[in-house]
């Protein structure tokens, strides 16, 4: 569906990365890859370095550190927040939502709205569209959109398809009401038929975790995982992305009356460099306008990937003059969503390592 928003702007983004870095080289012996295969995987799929949390670190730990840094640096007065949206697939608890944990840990005021959304790779787009919608309320002038995931804790040690690319991270995006009348265009679609293309089978109410769900089994391709672990059908995800995302972007640009060449930057979710290159080729986007190095440097951090691309590839000063940005996320659900947004006067694009 086509969406349209007005009266909202991104004020600033804080990316929070775990300091702990692991390298593919140090883990390659866990998988059944030859030296030649490992070299190719590094070059083509960006298997290299990724940031992961320690075993007891949760999303709220990363997010609280991020908010505290913003407050300490004088970039955000926590009392000005009217709504807190938390988008994650790896909540601290099944109950309550992680937004309430963060609200409590930060001592935020009671007169505000907390909202939790279970989304992954399209989570920044879904979260922003929700934030823009909330800003239609007169009582809501500032929304903090949190994207956070610690998916590394759900990936099996012997999953050669997923583990080498998965990274952990969080981001805090401050979205403000504005009198600026420029329009923001959006496009979101869902195909629930593919709900099991990316999933964790056990842990919810359908299959409760137990000793059996923790026992790994080896599949035909040598991946060892248990029902408690993330499973991704890479071929299904690849095919849906290549089929649906270019069509979505063309529709978004047409809806916004913007030519592809007028877009200053394409900040897309970062599955791997190969898929991004194929997407850029199919769309006709110059490679220099579409950053694709996140997986190689930090890992694929699900819904945090788009804000991570913005914080690690652009300076706030780049947005002193308005820039037309195309944002796109795609993955679990299956969901694919995009936004065409004028970004200007960004107060901060920070990276915090904790």
């Amino acid at each position: 569906m086509n969406l349209q928003f007005q009266g909202a702007r991104i004020n600033g983004i804080q990316l929070v990365l775990p300091k702990r870095e692991v390298s593919f080289d140090s883990e390659a012996s866990s998988y059944d890859f030859s030296l030649q295969q490992s070299a190719k995987l590094k070059a083509v799929l960006g298997f290299d370095r990724r940031r992961v949390v320690a075993d007891d670190v949760t999303c709220s730990d990363l997010v609280v550190a991020g908010f505290e840094a913003l407050s300490r640096d004088g970039l955000l007065d926590l009392k000005t927040l009217d709504a807190l949206i938390v988008v994650t697939q790896t909540p601290d608890y099944l109950i309550p939502g992680t937004s309430y944990v963060i609200h409590g840990r930060l001592g935020l005021r009671q007169d505000m709205l907390c909202l939790d959304i279970n989304q992954g790779c399209a989570g920044f787009v879904v979260g922003l569209t929700t934030a823009f919608s909330l800003l239609n309320q007169k009582a809501i002038r500032r929304v903090a959109l949190v994207n956070a995931d610690v998916v590394s804790r759900l990936v099996a040690f012997g999953d050669r398809n997923s583990r080498p690319i998965i990274g952990d991270a969080a981001s805090i995006t401050i979205v403000d009401a504005t009198s600026d009348e420029s329009l923001i265009y959006g496009n979101i679609k869902v195909d629930g038929i593919g709900w099991d293309a990316l999933m964790v089978p056990a842990g919810g109410m359908k299959i409760r975790p137990n000793t059996q769900t923790a026992i790994p089994e080896i599949d035909a391709n040598g991946n060892s995982r248990a029902l408690d672990n993330l499973v991704m059908r890479g071929d299904a995800v690849f095919n849906f992305v290549m089929k649906e995302v270019p069509t979505m972007i063309h529709s978004l640009l047409e809806n916004g009356g913007v030519a592809l060449s007028q877009v200053d930057g394409f900040a897309f979710h970062q599955p791997n460099p190969f898929m991004l290159r194929k997407l850029a080729e199919k769309l006709g986007v110059p490679l220099e306008k579409m950053p694709m190095d996140l997986v190689r440097k930090f890992g694929n951090s699900s819904g945090v990937s788009i804000p991570a691309v913005l914080c690690t590839n652009f300076e706030a000063s780049y947005f002193e003059q308005p820039r037309v940005m195309c944002l796109a996320g795609f993955g679990v659900g299956l969901t694919w969503g995009s936004l065409l947004i004028n970004m200007s006067k960004i107060s901060f694009l920070n990276v915090l390592e904790v």
């Binding site: 030859s34 190719k40 995987l41 890479g234 071929d235 690849f238 190969f274 997407l279």
Partner: protein, 75 residues
């Protein structure tokens, strides 16, 4: 079958030992990582461009269908 072509497939999954004499099923044998590596290598070694929408089961069903597809891209 072209030995260079089979060599490329073997470099990705050496344990299967594909050979030039025999058509072998690929779909269900290769996973998404294998397919991406094969596409990258075919593009490089045969100087062809494989479009994203061509990376589909029909073209990767077997050694023979993949070889026919590569030949069609090279023309």
């Amino acid at each position: 079958m072209n030995s260079k072509f089979v060599e490329i497939i073997n470099s990705v999954r050496p344990e299967i030992r594909f050979n030039t004499e025999q058509d072998t099923e690929l779909f269900g044998v290769l996973d998404s990582l294998d397919i991406i590596l094969i596409v990258e290598e075919l593009e490089r070694q045969f100087d062809i461009s494989i479009e994203a929408e061509q990376i589909v089961p029909e073209n990767f069903a077997s050694l023979r269908t993949l070889e026919a597809f590569v030949k069609s891209r090279a023309q």
